[in-house]
Symmetry: C2
Subunit: 263 residues, 2 copies
């Protein structure tokens, strides 16, 4: 695309690193919309949540990863990538109009959002005032076929670039697995109330010392039909408008008696 002041600038990031098929696919989908700049971790950073690197140096290296696309790899977390993009790479040029993160190999629906590097990167960009969309596929394999989602991602990105994200700055988009049938459409919904039921695989290392490896099962505690989990189970792409205000507003009044504690 020819670049001028009107050309949208799109920042692409992820948490699986530059070699993940998901980011290659996302770059390929969004490059038609404007000038694309990619900043991604130099190693997989799944489940890193909103971690940032404050106790050590961060490296940033310009690399050739996608033909004709300005790309950097970063030694830090997904959130570090966005911070470096905003404050270093885009310091003296037009700021991104949109940040897209993903496509993640694995669901970020429901409670997964809080563990997700993909969504934390998108949230960080939204905190910086940049409209942001995290895309995740329920297929966590490296062989995931993202093609059926291409027209939807195109339309969502086009819609957001044209209309902007007004009432929210952040969308959490999840895509059903390819083998669950054709995508039926899109549902804008709320985050399902769910959690992981953990089990720890216990084993011994070659020296006889015990270790644990985290494993678990996703448990949906929410019978609502207006949730992201319900939409995905029905074969729809789920979109949850998301935010970084974690206040439980309904909990303020009932806890006001804490103000009456006398010392």
């Amino acid at each position: 695309m020819k670049q001028n002041d009107e050309t949208p600038v799109i920042l692409v990031t992820n948490d699986d690193g530059l070699f993940a098929p998901g980011i290659k696919f996302l770059v390929d989908v969004v490059k038609q919309f404007g000038e694309v700049v990619v900043v991604a971790p130099d190693s997989p950073q799944s489940a890193k949540g909103h971690a940032i690197t404050i106790d050590g140096p961060i490296r940033l290296k310009k690399v050739e990863a996608f033909p004709g696309i300005e790309t950097y790899e970063c030694s830090g977390t997904p959130v570090d990538c966005v911070k470096l993009a905003k404050h270093l790479i885009f310091k003296d040029r037009k700021q991104p109009d949109l940040c897209v993160s993903g496509v993640n190999h694995g669901s970020n629906a429901s409670i997964n959002i809080i563990y997700s590097g993909t969504m934390s990167a998108a949230m960080e960009a939204s905190l910086e005032g940049i409209d942001s969309i995290g895309f995740s596929s329920l297929d966590y394999t490296m062989e995931a076929n993202f093609e059926p989602s291409r027209p939807y991602i195109e339309k969502i990105v086009g819609h957001v670039l044209t209309n902007g994200l007004k009432e929210t700055k952040l969308l959490n988009v999840n895509i059903p697995k390819d083998d669950s049938g054709p995508i039926k459409g899109i549902k804008v919904c709320r985050q399902a109330n769910a959690r992981w039921k953990e089990e720890f695989h216990e084993a011994e290392d070659p020296r006889g010392n015990k270790y644990y490896w985290l494993t678990g099962k996703f448990v949906n505690l929410d019978s609502g039909t207006d949730t992201d989990v319900a939409a995905l189970e029905g074969g729809y792409i789920s979109i949850v408008p998301s935010k970084h205000d974690l206040t439980e507003y309904e909990g303020i009044a009932p806890n006001k008696d804490l103000e009456n504690i006398s010392i």
Copy 2:
């Protein structure tokens, strides 16, 4: 305290590790209320957000850190500590009635909650159905004097153990710096809308390679008087009832037009 079935069980964790004065202080404050079990990272884990360890083993070691208190150190993140406590240490015994995390050396008010290992550990416990409180001091130094907050922490913990956290499962408690005058009381409030304005310190390593070190300035964008930042500036302890549902409910209706995208 003599232990019987009525004795409250309190899980204590943090993100600064077992050698931080903040956790020593917190153990000392809460041990009067029941049976205390400590599970903390074996190295500082500040700013680790809601990171979990899924790509490698986790070690857990019973240690002697506080006289008479069952204590474990864990090689994982603060969230890993809580998961291991819940599913391994408490697997076949009475589950914790309360989880307290901290006292963190540094503020977790406002947007800091999303970067915070202290608050992520507390949130993870709340996800597991355990009433949880994260305590943080605005004094980030290791010499922080937490004593002025002792009677408040005692009262808050006692209140929660007696009454339970009903409408919310998680409190984010922040404590003014000791040198800002006597604590005036407690305010139950909402999370201030704020963000970090980043700057990256740029330098060269001994081999002449460039690196960046994250630094920044907290910027309060919120003029409300009902926020945690306002309470702290006024000399009060702030308590924000918090949650893990990140849905921007007000953004659902305005984004419904995304459902009408035709492919």
